[in-house]
Symmetry: C2
Subunit: 380 residues, 2 copies
């Protein structure tokens, strides 16, 4: 269930009910690629204001294996995170990592057919096959609360003809995902009835593709809406196209999506991109930027927490010599553990001698920046 509480002079705000808890939107979802948000204990995620984390199906399926995680209970129990988890379909990594793995294996290093996609694990050379049904099954094994359909992510640039053909496949796969999901839910509900237990469904989200073409984005959105999903993601952005194109893609796509379903912009983005996307009606975001940039010592600093329309933040590279004797906090406006207890001089020292606690402190601050940004967008 998704309830919108749009406020006058405010961004679209809502409450998304999942079986693992209610999520206030707009929401930023940190990435726990391999069953851990790098450097950050789950208890600290809670303190930072994290409502939901994203797990990567591709990585977890291959290592340690979704079957193993299922035997541990589910991904929540495995990684000690009881809050909601969204999992991607694995498709994005197959297409992006597969391409790097083995270029002779086929187009982009992956063998794409109507049935699914065959790819080689870059780490050990093993072949794997991912189909719409397999992706859903893996996500069910992981115990995901928000499951994504398998889509094809065409590279940028791709011709109109290629993207048209690709989005048609993505729609057929979305239907297969939904059919398989419904069948498995019916089975589980029947099992639950027999055993007298409860079964609560995860949510199933579709992914709009269509590249940088207005007609194709709209066609993709219309086809998926006709099939009916619990939420709609906008995929295939930030794959190399000019970043300004995002505004157009949202303007073409969002009006077609149902008002009463959450909208999720996959893999984005910079703080100002998130603000613009919320203005365009997007509710959910995930991005590696805060943690990855943090590990490189690049920190987000607030200029204005109240007015997100303008130049509301700046970045700071803690490796810079000028912070050597800077005994002020990382960000005077931030309430995080790092800013409350440590100085720029200390953090710079940790980075300069490769102390791992530095990566922890920097990730903590950047995550808090993104979470505070989402809180501001929710009017909290």
């Amino acid at each position: 269930m998704f309830e919108i509480h749009r406020q006058k002079d405010a961004y679209r705000q809502g409450m998304l009910t999942t079986r693992a808890g209610v999520i206030r939107t707009p929401v930023f979802m940190p990435i726990a690629t391999k069953a851990s948000v790098k450097h950050i204990p789950p208890e600290e995620l809670r303190t930072l204001g994290v409502q939901i984390v994203l797990g990567n199906t591709y990585h977890l399926w291959l290592r340690p294996g979704s079957d193993l995680i299922a035997r541990a209970g589910d991904l929540h129990m495995f990684m000690h995170w009881s809050g909601p988890i969204l999992t991607d379909s694995g498709g994005f990594q197959v297409f992006s990592l597969g391409a790097r793995a083995h270029t002779r294996f086929g187009k982009n290093g992956v063998k794409l057919t109507e049935e699914g996609v065959e790819f080689i694990d870059p780490l050990n050379g093993k072949k794997h096959f991912l189909s719409p049904e397999k992706s859903i099954e893996v996500q069910l094994e992981l115990g995901s609360d928000i499951i994504m359909v398998l889509d094809e992510c065409p590279p940028y640039p791709s011709t109109h003809a290629y993207v048209a053909q690709s989005l048609a496949l993505t729609t057929r796969w979305a239907k297969r995902c939904k059919d398989y999901f419904e069948r498995r839910m019916a089975e589980r509900e029947a099992d639950a009835q027999i055993s007298g237990t409860d079964h609560t469904r995860p949510l199933l989200f579709a992914i709009v593709q269509g590249g940088v073409y207005e007609d194709l984005r709209q066609e993709s959105a219309r086809q998926l809406v006709a099939l009916g999903f619990d939420g709609y993601a906008i995929g295939g952005v930030a794959v190399g196209e000019p970043r300004e194109t995002m505004k157009d893609i949202l303007a073409w796509t969002v009006p077609i999506l149902p008002e009463d379903k959450p909208r999720y912009l996959m893999g984005l983005g910079k703080p100002e991109e998130i603000v613009r996307a919320v203005e365009a009606g997007v509710d959910m975001f995930d991005c590696v930027i805060p943690t990855r940039e943090g590990r490189h010592g690049r920190l987000f600093i607030w200029k204005d927490q109240k007015d997100l329309s303008g130049d509301f933040y700046e970045t700071l590279n803690i490796n810079n010599e000028k912070y050597r004797e800077d005994f002020t906090s990382i960000d005077a406006q931030c309430d995080c553990y790092t800013c409350t207890n440590y100085t720029r001089a200390y953090l710079r020292h940790l980075f300069s001698v490769d102390e791992p606690f530095g990566f922890h402190l920097a990730s903590t601050h950047n995550l808090r920046f993104y979470l505070k940004l989402a809180e501001s967008l929710r009017g909290e």
Copy 2:
């Protein structure tokens, strides 16, 4: 002040008062080499039962500089640890790291004179000079609560003649350290009187040398005891000599040390070595083993927390394939965060995909093992 509460049928137990707090002994001190116990936030150290941490003067003097740390307040404020801190003299690292740096520069890569020791920073080739007075001054800048005198650490093996000459130098240096320390304390106390503030002294510990020679260990201990210090360390162990020699070194040395002063065995050791040293009358320990072994996935597992005389623990290498689907806790007898919340299968997964949270969880458990060992030795 050091009060002994020796109990019948128990190990020597005491309370050491420092200006930053009282320490119950036997005590294990985790190492915060570069102003951080690798991977572990200070609040977590408290939870684990850490009473005091060790900072390395050599590392902190060179990077970020003890002057910079003094401007931050002191090492407590810089690294956000308000509990007691012991700092070493820097000598051990000069002799061990210096030797690796530049073998043509002089004996062992360092130039040793009566005045002090000149060495080359292996990271940038810069020359530095460490004297007894400089070592004390650097430790005062760091704001250490337990300061160690500068000693010469002869390599193993060294001849009787060399060690005899070396320990005489160590004694002369210890006297210079004490004289300089007393002069600086008098200055500070005078300043405090003028400004109407309080000055509380750190403690000053000497270091017994003498290699593997009974007469020289005893001579060193007698000379240092005659000078009078707040505590006595036993140095120059675990430098390559047979590990069984430790028992002899303690048997020769400890009886000469005053009953009412704490005894600190530097840089040791394995759990059973700590137990044997406590039996021999040692009160304080520091060692990289729990954190370093933890980062390699080698974990300490209790067999018997009650009886430390026998085979009371074993080790486990979490990288082993056999833990792949082991959904039990790391150590069923352990009360740490890791053992309470995570499985061996999860920890093994984190190590197998190089997730940094794995190093955090493993270090946490191993530190708790060592701290629990100290608690058991204290009869807690």
